[in-house]
Symmetry: C2
Subunit: 182 residues, 2 copies
């Protein structure tokens, strides 16, 4: 399959350049020759880590999400630094957010979170080879998270309560259900 229904860019207007996202407005030619506008968020992309301890607990972090004005329980995750390989990001975020490290990260999948308006690509890793690190590493200065270790059953209950409620973490639960053939 090719790039069916391709839309050629006529003009790009930069609207906003932020710490995390940029917003641009593209004027495009549609497949039928008409023109339209596309609102596009540029994001550096990120990682999420499905991490299972020796005691069969899954590592999560609780954190406040300002766009929702509430806190969620999510798998450890973070943004790519410029030119950083996703596996390096994954190891760093695991260490910073959970106090565990690993030498074995397996890439499970990757996906665009919302391809209609954003180019954010998330890489999802899996590890069940976790080693506690002695000194917990520093988080970003505006980052506040709390480690939560849960069984799969406890995580399923939080999903029903909508406390686990984001794409990468709901994906992680379903992946683990499938992995364990529950």
């Amino acid at each position: 399959m090719t790039n069916k229904f391709e839309e050629k860019t006529i003009a790009t207007t930069q609207i906003f350049n932020g710490k995390i996202i940029n917003l641009q407005l593209d004027e495009v030619t549609l497949p039928n020759g008409e023109t339209s506008k596309r609102e596009i968020i540029r994001h550096p992309g990120g990682v999420g880590i499905i991490a299972v301890t020796d005691e069969n607990k899954i590592l999560f972090v609780e954190q406040y999400r300002k766009p929702l004005d509430k806190s969620l329980v999510e798998i450890p995750a973070g943004k790519l630094e410029p030119d950083e390989k996703p596996e390096v990001t994954a190891k760093r975020e695991l260490e910073e957010e959970t106090g565990y490290t690993t030498d074995k990260l397996e890439l499970v999948t990757s996906f665009y979170t919302s391809p209609g308006f954003a180019d954010e690509l998330l890489y999802i890793y899996y590890t069940d080879k976790l080693v506690p690190i002695k000194e917990k590493m520093a988080l970003d200065e505006d980052e506040f998270v709390e480690l939560v270790e849960l069984t799969l059953e406890e995580a399923e209950a939080l999903m029903i309560e909508n406390k686990i409620h984001d794409a990468k973490t709901v994906y992680a639960i379903t992946y683990l259900q499938h992995l364990l053939k529950k």
Copy 2:
């Protein structure tokens, strides 16, 4: 669990109001008393439909995604209209994009696509009770999609090629793998 690490809004600046997304910049008080800025995308939310035919084919649509400058194969999906119930959106988008309808939509899950910067919430439905409709309905005027019916094995192959590569569709494949206990 409560709203741990809550961030109080000091001021909100509206940056952009678009057709699909709005962008605002919130100045917030962090849990440690410092202030920071949060870049927030407001989105109406949407639906995705996991639809399986009598012949055990899964319905997908191929469409061009300008933020990625390529086309993806995704489950049928669409945005909520103002005050529209997600189940109504799901039925409408199924009809518009695939030419099938249904009287039985089961809510599988819902998730925020990218809670770090956006409030977009997606509702995922499942149906295997599909009825072809006689006249295909009109798409939005700037929407061009092509129906693709695939077996689960064919869809898994497209996922490996990164032609299926967005959160809701990767979720759908894993959900179906789990449902069928593959």
